[in-house]
């Protein structure tokens, strides 16, 4: 599902990722961890083509994304559900509209989009907040809306950047179990986190990034 070959990324002569090789197979559940600035977010951004590597190849779902033309990026991104660290919700749209909008650009008919959005909102306990604007929600609620949006169209790959950062322990645990369910249904899940409790809650393959390279690749704790 994901393959990186000798991937390097530099910002203003500062190396973020250095000759990184990585393979994640379809259906895997993987944690990506490491200290702040280790390159977790950059790695995720390379996967959904918000960044291009300075060197190397990035392959996602059989497509080389680092050379992909801009006009083809929407098709790639529709295969990926991204849970952003800063939520990236549309401020002028309600909770329900934030989700139906994504479904509509995936070609889902309005009525079906509404049905699916309500289903995922119920699953995340947000059905009573469907008409609220994002700014009226708490951080945790906004996080759950971002998750709902990423899950609504049942993507083959889910990339989550610190998805539990704004959630209390119960909600974080609930979210992880949700991601596990989705992984059980066949989706590949890559979760970037520095939360030790999260890492220890599920036995899963864990990649530790350090100084731009994979420092550890195996089950956690080592």
């Amino acid at each position: 599902m994901i393959r990186l070959r000798s991937v390097s990324k530099e910002y203003e002569r500062r190396t973020i990722l250095s000759a990184l090789d990585l393979q994640i197979d379809a259906g895997e559940f993987v944690f990506l961890t490491g200290p702040s600035g280790a390159g977790k977010t950059t790695l995720l951004r390379l996967l959904y083509a918000a960044e291009r590597p300075t060197e190397g190849e990035v392959w996602v779902a059989g497509r080389r994304v680092d050379e992909m033309m801009g006009s083809r990026l929407p098709l790639l991104r529709r295969k990926i559900g991204v849970i952003f660290q800063d939520f990236k919700l549309l401020r002028r749209k309600t909770v329900l509209e934030n989700i139906t909008f994504v479904l509509r650009i995936h070609g889902v008919a309005p009525r079906e989009a509404h049905r699916r959005a309500m289903k995922v909102l119920r699953r995340l306990g947000l059905q009573h907040r469907q008409a609220a604007l994002p700014d009226a929600l708490s951080g945790g609620e906004q996080q759950r809306v971002a998750i709902a949006r990423a899950l609504a169209y049942q993507p083959r790959l889910i990339l989550a950047d610190e998805p539990t950062g704004n959630l209390d322990a119960d909600l974080a645990s609930e979210l992880l179990s949700l991601l596990c369910d989705i992984n059980y249904q066949g989706a590949t899940v890559l979760v970037a986190t520095h939360d030790q409790a999260i890492l220890e809650s599920i036995p899963a393959r864990t990649l530790v990034l350090h100084q731009g390279q994979v420092h550890y690749d195996g089950m956690w704790p080592p």
Binding site: Y48, P74, L75, R77, F84
Partner: protein, 284 residues
Amino acid sequence: MIRHAVAEGLVVLRERAAVSVVLALALGMPIALAGVGLTLHHWLGPMAGLSGEKSSVAVLLRPRLEPSERRRWIADLSTEHPDWDISEVSSRDLAERLQRWFPYLEDLMDSGDAALPPLVEILTDNPDSVAVLEERSEVLAIGPRSSIQQTLGQVARRLALIVGVVSGVLLAGALLLAAVWVHLELYRHADEVIIMRLVGATEATIRGPFLVAVALPGLVAGVLSAVGSVATVAGLSRLTTALGLSAMSIPPTILVAQVATGVLLPVLAAIITLARHAADAIEG
């Protein structure tokens, strides 16, 4: 995604109602002016010889002249007066030209095309010289050829030039306004554009609302300018008929062109602006 583009475009318009009204007025005025100018040009053209510095004089021939005789007569006349540009009015345009040149023949025109006498138009820089034809047996009547015609032609030409330049400048200003507005709206919505791209929206989905936001004021401008032109031309027509000149009417093609210009030009300005700046506004 058309529904999305329309819905989001309407949101942009609601948020910036004042700008959209100003844009509609800014677009509508030059388009209306150009429409009236073109109608005037169309109406004055055959009378005042707008194609150059010359004036046109109409000569009504006797109906009994056979087509071959008419052609020979025109050929002889061309040889005799090489400075005249002589052309016979086609049967298709005959009724309209007769009404314009000889409005007092209204009764004759009501009797049907078959009874209409042949008409030639002579383009010359000395309309009074056409008076020599009055004594010819083939000639029934000669249309107005006073120097007023020449003055009218000169005024009309200058008026057309002024109207064209003023309309062009105002239209360019309106299009600049549309482009700047789209540019500002794009940056105001930059966060949303980034998010839309990251969740897989295509360029058409992203840019559609901005195009709708300029197309709708453009449509309003086009329709208002067409209505305004019709009203102005109707007023001018009452004036010309009161002066014994032919009635004026706005050709339907001009009305269609006004509406199309109102919609298409601001959309084109928006497309160019979006193509130049959309990528800058978005990181992903």
